[in-house]
């Protein structure tokens, strides 16, 4: 694996291998000295064209725990905001000797363009591109599910037979796309629930079932309920009538949580709109994996950087 651009590129074996490396990395976090010398002398650039403190910090911690040098190159206040192109930025980073570039970009496909361009020879990690994909988020979600289900016996396992329901703005969600490909590769069955306006126009080729009725979907007692963030700008573009109506029809409120089986996980990629797509009760309950997802994010990103930069040599 030279780049991580899309979870659709991962085979089942590759995905499980990454999750297993992440298990090893998670063990590092429990040590007194939370650091490995693996990527000493390597340079990882966080190239963020969009603000995302959470994801950037997660990658930064991951790289530092592997002893890599980390350069944060954010678009704001840099030459990028003065009109420098992706090409010029990439060539600049190449000249500086970046070994891996973690890219967050508002345009779908920007990491792929970078990887195919020949402007830079570094490994490219997609840290979220437009409304396309967010592969490390899906990996950390899968990792979180596997740990909840299998605990210390997680290594080597997929997610066979696990029933995952993803709810919310599927149309604009890079998290949803990456999860659909990855979870089905790992053997899970995925269903999507959303208002028709927030579903992509054609998902017939996706390995999912699609429905519009949240209560009916929750009535099937899924193993995992994954809530997606509703962005404020959607409310002004006629995707649904009002936040109130959305919340009532597609929000995970206390009543709906109460009807779920006790072992159903509630996941959210964050940041959450409490009271809109998820109630405080649901977000803070024991079934919620929100904080585990954040912690696991570091382990997954360590695994990805390790696999890209050291995996081929070992």
């Amino acid at each position: 694996m030279r780049h991580l651009l899309s979870t659709a590129d991962l085979s089942r074996d590759e995905a499980i291998a990454l999750l297993d490396i992440a298990e090893d990395m998670a063990d590092v976090a429990n040590r007194e000295v939370k650091k490995l010398p693996t990527l000493r002398g390597r340079t990882v650039v966080n190239l963020f064209f969009e603000d995302s403190t959470r994801t950037r910090v997660s990658f930064e911690v991951a790289a530092k725990r592997l002893s890599a040098d980390v350069i944060n190159f954010s678009a704001k206040g840099s030459s990028v905001s003065k009109g420098e192109s992706l090409k010029d930025t990439a060539q600049t980073l190449a000249a500086m000797g970046a070994d891996a570039v973690v890219i967050r970009h508002g345009a779908s496909g920007a990491p792929r363009v970078l990887a195919d361009s020949g402007w830079i020879d570094a490994g490219i990690v997609n840290a979220g591109d437009g409304t396309h994909e967010h592969p490390t988020q899906a990996l950390l979600d899968a990792f979180t599910m596997r740990r909840r289900l299998h605990g210390a016996a997680s290594r080597g396992k997929g997610l066979d037979g696990v029933r995952v329901t993803i709810i919310g703005d599927i149309l604009h969600s890079r998290v949803a796309r990456s999860n659909v490909w990855l979870l089905s590769t790992l053997g899970a069955s995925v269903s999507l629930v959303a208002p028709a306006t927030l579903l992509p126009v054609d998902t017939t080729a996706w390995p999912v079932t699609v429905s519009y009725d949240l209560d009916a979907a929750l009535g099937l007692s899924p193993d995992v309920v994954m809530m997606l963030r509703i962005q404020a700008e959607r409310m002004n573009a006629a995707f649904f009538p009002s936040a109130r109506e959305y919340s009532r029809q597609w929000g995970l409120d206390d009543d709906r949580v109460a009807r779920l089986p006790a072992d159903t996980m509630v996941m959210h990629p964050g940041p959450m709109n409490r009271g809109l797509e998820i109630s405080a009760g649901a977000a803070d309950s024991a079934r919620s994996t929100v904080l585990e997802q954040v912690a696991n994010g570091v382990s997954i990103r360590m695994a990805v950087l390790y696999h890209l930069l050291a995996g081929s040599e070992s």
Binding site: L86, S108, S117, T131, H132, D202
Partner: protein
């Protein structure tokens, strides 16, 4: 200047010699003529492009009238209609006259400026249509291409106003609200790639509205770059009802599909977007049965930096003049859908008729203007940057094998392309000047 062509095949297959002198075909072989050996070559009437972006004035980093004219000659064209989205916009007599005179001076092709329908292409107020029609440029085609005249009342008025002098409105059919931020044909692929969809209904609904408006006011309508199977159905229905509508398809919509966007390579970003395989086949069939009248290139040059970037940030458009005939040959001639006689119709006589361009109705006839091109249909080439002659290289065909090659082009009786190479600008300009001195 006199030209003699030996042994060319006319589109209908008859083998003949062609004689031209003083800008027109003559019956007797002129003396002292430039002789072109056309053994094995097909002579087509000079190609006419109803939809070219020459970019001058305002965007000379992408193309100029001269460079676009050279690209056109290299592609076998002898006349192009220059779209109005220049800067300043071609919405006044002054600008269209400037574009026309640049074309005349360079002489590679006849340049016919298209006038904007609305001031500044803003879609708010009719531009000085009458003044442009009465100017030295005698504009007959009006279009806001790049943008849709989406206001129904404004479109109705434009159709009525232009009809008074027999002109035509060429509509870029794109409902703007349905295509906010649109990047790619809306469907399974846009869903997967996470690119904002450009739904076919946004094109089809405007065409449906406009053919009804054209019927209501009794005016001619031309539809630019039809791209969907549904649009073909609407146009077919309109023609069956006797509505005076004509339609064009681009070469790229006859050959390429949306699948090429899978790698986010912005060379394949165009508006309207590349569609599905079903659409490509419907468009080919429509061109063959006459539902779609013509092929027009929508030649849209852009500088490299406008394409070397993320898909969302890239400019829409492809250059197409140099590749047009080869792509048409690959898509509809070599597949048996169109004959070379049909090609002569859809790429020369019919676009000239729609654009009210004289001199293309009786090609090769003694007394007609000597506009023609010689093509070697048996040639095959891997299309390369060296095949491009404009300023921009945003061709979707680079590296693709294409059939056919333009060997010579003759405009108003003087060669602009010989032995597959452009004649130099000074020679062409001098020949054009000599021709106009003769009157």
């Amino acid at each position: 200047m006199s030209v003699v062509v030996r042994g060319a095949l006319l589109p209908d297959g008859t083998r003949t010699d062609l004689f031209a002198t003083g800008g027109t075909f003559v019956a007797e072989e002129p003396r002292g003529a430039r002789v072109i050996d056309a053994d094995g070559l097909i002579a087509l009437p000079g190609l006419v492009d109803l939809h070219t972006h020459l970019r001058e004035p305002g965007f000379e980093q992408s193309e100029t009238v001269l460079t676009g004219s050279r690209a056109a000659s290299a592609g076998g064209f002898t006349a192009v209609f220059a779209m109005a989205n220049t800067s300043p916009v071609q919405d006044t007599a002054g600008v269209v006259e400037q574009v026309q005179s640049l074309g005349d001076r360079h002489g590679y092709v006849t340049v016919r400026p298209i006038g904007a329908v609305t001031v500044g292409l803003k879609g708010e107020k009719l531009s000085e249509i009458g003044a442009m029609a009465q100017s030295r440029a005698r504009v007959r085609v009006f279009s806001d291409d790049g943008l849709c005249v989406h206001d129904a009342l404004l479109m109705r008025r434009a159709l009525e106003y232009v009809s008074t002098f027999g002109g035509v409105v060429a509509q870029h059919a794109q409902e703007p609200r349905l295509t906010i931020g649109a990047q790619l044909n809306e469907g399974a692929l846009s869903s997967e790639l996470g690119l904002a969809g450009w739904p076919s209904v946004a094109e089809e609904s405007i065409i449906a509205r406009d053919v009804l408006l054209a019927q209501h006011v009794g005016a001619r309508l031309h539809v630019c770059h039809v791209s969907t199977a549904g649009s073909v159905e609407v146009v077919r229905w309109a023609k069956a009802r006797g509505i005076p509508v004509t339609a064009e398809v681009t070469p790229h919509h006859l050959l390429l599909t949306e699948e090429l966007a899978r790698g986010y390579d912005a060379r394949f970003k165009v508006n309207p977007p590349l569609r599905r395989d079903e659409d490509v086949h419907a468009l080919r069939a429509a061109l063959a049965d006459g539902t779609i009248d013509i092929v027009a290139t929508d030649h849209a040059p852009h500088p490299t930096e406008s394409k070397e970037c993320a898909w969302d940030e890239a400019a829409n458009g492809m250059v197409g003049l140099e590749s047009a005939l080869s792509v048409v040959q690959a898509a509809v001639v070599d597949t048996g859908l169109l004959t070379w006689t049909d090609v002569a119709r859809v790429m020369s006589s019919r676009p000239a008729e729609i654009g009210l361009l004289a001199g293309y109705d009786t090609p090769f006839a003694v007394g007609s203007a000597a506009n023609f091109t010689l093509v070697d249909p048996a040639a095959r080439r891997t299309f390369a940057v060296s095949d491009l002659h404009g300023k921009s290289v945003n061709s979707p065909y680079l590296g693709r094998e294409l059939p056919g090659r333009i060997v010579a082009t003759v405009h108003d009786g003087y060669p602009t392309v010989l032995d597959g190479e452009l004649v130099d600008a000074e020679t062409v300009s001098a020949a054009a000047g000599a021709g106009s001195n003769h009157g």
